[in-house]
Every structure is written in structure tokens, then in C-alpha cells.
């Protein structure tokens, strides 16, 4: 691969594309007033993130990002929007103390930004010697059931609670007719 002319530049360009897609998608998601465009931004952002994971030698994680966030989460959000939203841009409602709320948002945003920057710039970065695993089915299965079994079980518990919650809400809506 390295003997191909401009290989480094091409790799760099693809990396910039992934970063740009992530940032652009995030900006669309945050700035658009129509919720459906916001979801599209989220989707673009997730695809860019998947590209970044791919660059970090985690193709399994990258594909899971697309399968779950684009294929499931975004679709569910859009479905929810479709059933409820009229897709008119939101009415400009002047909130009391609007400036104060804005200031609070800016402060929180800046705080998070500086905290994350400080962590990522100042923290010690361990460079892994090789890939964590080869991404094969066996390696992933072993990792999920040994090293990360607690996290795996916790996530399944969270999902169970979510399903039960959805059932409770749906049921109560049905009986109160």
C-alpha cells in the first residue's frame, strides 16, 4: 500500500472526510430548526463516527455504529416524528429570561469543551501494542462473556427496563379509553 503514490495524502484526505462528516452532521443536528433534518444530521454524524472508528482499527465497532445508530435509532426517531410532528418550523416563543438561559447554555457548553480538551490533551495516552483483538466472532464472544461481562449484563438490564417502561406506557394508554 505504501508504494502507491500519494498514499499518505489519500489516507489523510479520507481521515479529513470522516472528521468533516462527523462535524458537519453534528452541526446540522444542532442548528436545524426542523426536527427531521436534525435526525438526518445525526445520521450523517454517526456515519462519520463510524469512519473514525474504522481508522482506529475497530471495524466491528464501526459497522455496529451504523447498524444500531443509523439503522435502528435514527429510524425509530423519524418514525416517532412522523406519528406526532406536523413538521412546521417551531414557533418563536420568547421565554422569560431568554438571555439568562442562553448564558447558562454557553457556560455549560464551554465547561464541557474545556474539560474534554484538558482530558484529551493532558491525559496520558497509552498506545496499544497491537489490535485489541482480531475482530473475529470468537474473539468478540469471548470478550463479551469474560472481560466485559458486567457491562454486557448491565446494558441488557437497561434494555429490559426500557422495554418494560414502553409496555407500561402503551398499556395504560390502551385501558384508559
Amino acid at each position: 500500500m505504501s508504494n502507491f503514490p500519494f498514499a499518505d495524502y489519500i489516507t489523510g484526505a479520507i481521515f479529513c472526510l470522516a472528521v468533516g462528516t462527523t462535524l458537519g452532521g453534528a452541526l446540522i443536528a444542532a442548528l436545524s430548526t426542523r426536527i427531521i433534518r436534525g435526525v438526518c444530521g445525526l445520521m450523517i454524524c454517526c456515519i462519520g463516527l463510524a469512519g473514525l472508528y474504522w481508522f482506529l482499527h475497530s471495524p466491528f465497532l464501526a459497522l455496529m455504529e451504523i447498524l444500531i445508530y443509523v439503522g435502528a435509532v435514527c429510524v425509530t426517531i423519524v418514525f416517532g416524528v412522523m406519528l406526532s410532528e406536523t413538521d412546521e418550523p417551531a414557533q418563536e416563543k420568547q421565554r422569560s429570561f431568554a438571555a439568562l438561559w442562553g448564558l447558562g447554555a454557553v457556560l455549560v457548553g464551554l465547561g464541557v469543551f474545556f474539560a474534554v480538551s484538558r482530558l484529551s490533551l493532558g491525559g496520558p495516552w497509552k498506545v496499544p501494542a497491537a489490535f485489541a483483538n482480531d475482530g473475529s466472532v470468537q474473539a468478540i464472544g469471548l470478550a463479551l462473556l469474560t472481560t466485559y461481562s458486567l457491562a454486557f449484563e448491565l446494558i441488557s438490564l437497561v434494555l429490559l427496563v426500557a422495554i418494560l417502561g414502553a409496555l407500561v406506557i402503551a398499556r395504560s394508554g390502551r385501558t384508559k379509553e
Binding site: 438526518c40 471495524p59 459497522l63 455496529m64 451504523i66 429510524v75 423519524v78 412522523m82
Partner: protein, 336 residues
């Protein structure tokens, strides 16, 4: 010169060009095959004016579609309206990059090729739905809502079947899955009844889910012509509509390729003769087109189902059966 062609990036680029050409040719000529098949089944000749036996019909259709203006009706969300055809066409092209057509004929031999196909295949729903939503048309929005509930319902048995296959094969590399099925048709995953007596049932579940995921009849609730005009594509004209149509056939090609690889032994010869190299690719294409013909045949033989029976089929029959096969495979693998 030959050396230049085998450098990795150049090779991948050439493969991508080939895949795009393959997809476009398939989309064009599968439409003709579909119309010819429909004609045959309905006892009429089908398109037979353009060229010999209608062989130039796709070219004529293509020119007509390209020459039409792509209208963006007022009141639509014009950005999403234009973006949806792009999003619907890209995923099947990406999926074909990891499909092995022969022992060495694969653009990108990924270790997790199976997951790759499924993750990009899931974008298709989103694109159809956005197209329908951006059209701001009652028919299109009803169609979008149907697409989502149908795809969510059929994604579950499909993935359960794929998990069963993963347990049997132990790898997500599509080439490796085919290599395990070498040595005659009784070694194909379809007939591996000693691993799981329900293996043929698994294949049927996979095929039904594939039909539903690609929105083909009898599950074509998304573009039920007699009730929803053209479903999600009602407002699209010209090549905008053409791209949706091409994507449908590209998705059928991807789905049938996957069924061939997972169950019918991919490029392996059924009786052990004429195997390897280009013969392998020929066997793959024979199996692929046999499945595609079955898809066309089913479309013109069965009427469209009702929407609730479509959902009942998935939630009450396919999901329980596929869970049982999953469990049975696990138990049999542990015991044997």
C-alpha cells in the same frame, strides 16, 4: 501494465467500477426480465417492439427517464427530496463490494463481511422513509410508515437466522463461509440437516425476510400501486424515480447473493465438476439468477397480502420459529 493493475488501490477502484456497471446492467435488464416474466405468467408477450424480442427496451426506458426533468414539487422539503435517491442507491453498491463472486473475485475481502452487508443494508429503510416524508404527500407518508414497521418487523427474524448461521459457520467472512461448503450440494448449509434439522426452514425464513426487506410482492406494501399510487415515490419523476427503481433491483441482487453465499454454497459446484476460477463465478451467477427468477415468479403469482397479516406473519410465526431454530442449533452443537 499488469503490475500497475494489481496494486491494491487500483484494484479496488477497478472493482468498484465493475460493481457499478454490474449493478446498472442488472437493474436495467432485470426490469425487462420482470416485464417479460409478468407477460409470460399473464399469457401476453410483454415488451417486444424495441429491438429483437424487446432487447432494447431498457435502453429506451433509460433515455426516456434521463430526458425527463426532475421536478421538485412546491411544498416539499427540497433538500431531503433530492438527497433520498442518493441515499437509496449507495448502500447496495457498498454491499456488493464485499460479496465474493468467485474464489478470488472479491473487491474487499473483509473479515466481517456479513455484518458489513447488514449494517449498510439497514440504511435503505431510512432513505425510503425520508423520500416519502420529504414528498409531503399523504400516500407517500402512509407508505413510509408502512416501510418502517415492515422492515423493523422483518429485520428481527432475519438477524436471528443470521445468528443461527453464524453459530454454524463460526465466521463472518463471506469467502470463508463459502469455502466451508465445498464438496457437493450435500455440504451446502441448506442441506446440513445433521447440524440442525430445521436448516431448510431457516433458508425459507431468510428468503421471506429478504422479500419483505426489499419490499417485493407479496409484501410490497410500500408501493402498493392500487391503493397508494406509487407509495414513497409518488412525487418523483424522471431519473429520481428511476434511481429508486434501480435501487430496488440492486437490493434484490444483494439479498439473493447473500442467500446464495449463506445457504447455496456460493461459487461451489453442486456436483464437484467444473469448479474454481471463472467456473466458480459462473456457478455463482447461475444460483443468483435462479433465486432472482424465483423472486420475480413469486411477485406475479401471489397477490399482495394485507398489512396486518404481514405483521402477524413476522411476529407470530417467523420470530418464534427462528428462535426455536436458534435454540435447537445451540443445543445440537453442544451435544454433538
Amino acid at each position: 501494465m499488469m503490475k500497475f493493475l494489481t496494486i491494491e488501490p487500483v484494484r479496488v477502484l477497478l472493482y468498484l467500477v465493475g460493481i457499478i456497471a454490474f449493478t446498472a446492467a442488472n437493474a436495467a435488464y432485470l426490469v425487462l426480465a420482470e416485464r417479460k416474466g409478468a407477460g409470460r405468467i399473464q399469457r401476453r408477450p410483454g415488451p417486444n417492439e424495441a429491438g429483437w424480442a424487446g432487447i432494447l427496451q431498457p435502453v429506451a426506458d433509460g433515455i426516456k427517464l434521463l430526458a425527463k426533468q426532475v421536478m421538485v414539487p412546491p411544498g416539499t422539503d427540497s433538500l431531503l427530496f433530492r438527497a433520498a435517491p442518493l441515499m437509496v442507491m449507495a448502500p447496495p453498491l457498498l454491499c456488493l463490494a464485499v460479496i465474493p463472486f468467485g474464489d478470488t473475485i472479491v473487491a474487499c475481502n473483509l473479515n466481517i463481511g456479513l455484518l458489513f452487508v447488514f449494517s449498510f443494508g439497514s440504511i435503505n429503510v431510512m432513505a425510503l422513509m425520508l423520500g416519502g416524508w420529504a414528498s409531503r404527500n399523504k400516500f407517500a407518508i402512509i407508505s413510509s410508515a408502512r416501510v418502517v414497521s415492515q422492515n423493523v418487523a422483518y429485520e428481527i427474524p432475519m438477524l436471528l437466522v443470521v445468528i443461527t448461521m453464524l453459530m454454524v459457520t463460526g465466521t463472518m467472512n463471506l469467502g470463508e463461509i463459502v469455502r466451508q461448503q465445498a464438496g457437493g450440494f450435500w455440504h451446502w448449509n441448506l442441506l446440513k440437516v445433521w447440524v440442525n434439522p430445521f436448516m431448510p426452514v431457516t433458508f425459507i425464513i431468510f428468503f421471506i425476510c429478504m422479500l419483505a426487506e426489499t419490499n417485493r410482492a407479496p409484501f410490497d406494501m410500500a408501493e402498493a400501486e392500487s391503493e397508494l399510487v406509487a407509495g414513497a415515490f409518488t412525487e418523483y419523476g424522471g431519473m429520481g424515480f428511476g434511481v429508486f427503481f434501480m435501487a430496488e433491483y440492486a437490493n434484490i441482487v444483494v439479498g439473493c447473493s447473500l442467500a446464495t453465499i449463506l445457504f447455496l454454497g456460493g461459487w461451489q459446484s453442486p456436483i464437484g465438476v467444473l469448479s474454481g476460477g471463472w467456473f466458480g463465478a459462473a456457478w455463482f451467477l447461475v444460483k443468483l439468477y435462479a433465486l432472482i427468477f424465483t423472486v420475480i415468479w413469486i411477485r406475479w403469482t401471489f397477490p399482495r397480502t394485507q398489512f396486518y397479516s404481514l405483521l402477524n406473519l413476522s411476529w407470530k410465526i417467523l420470530i418464534p420459529v427462528s428462535l426455536v431454530t436458534l435454540l435447537l442449533t445451540g443445543v445440537m452443537m453442544k451435544i454433538l
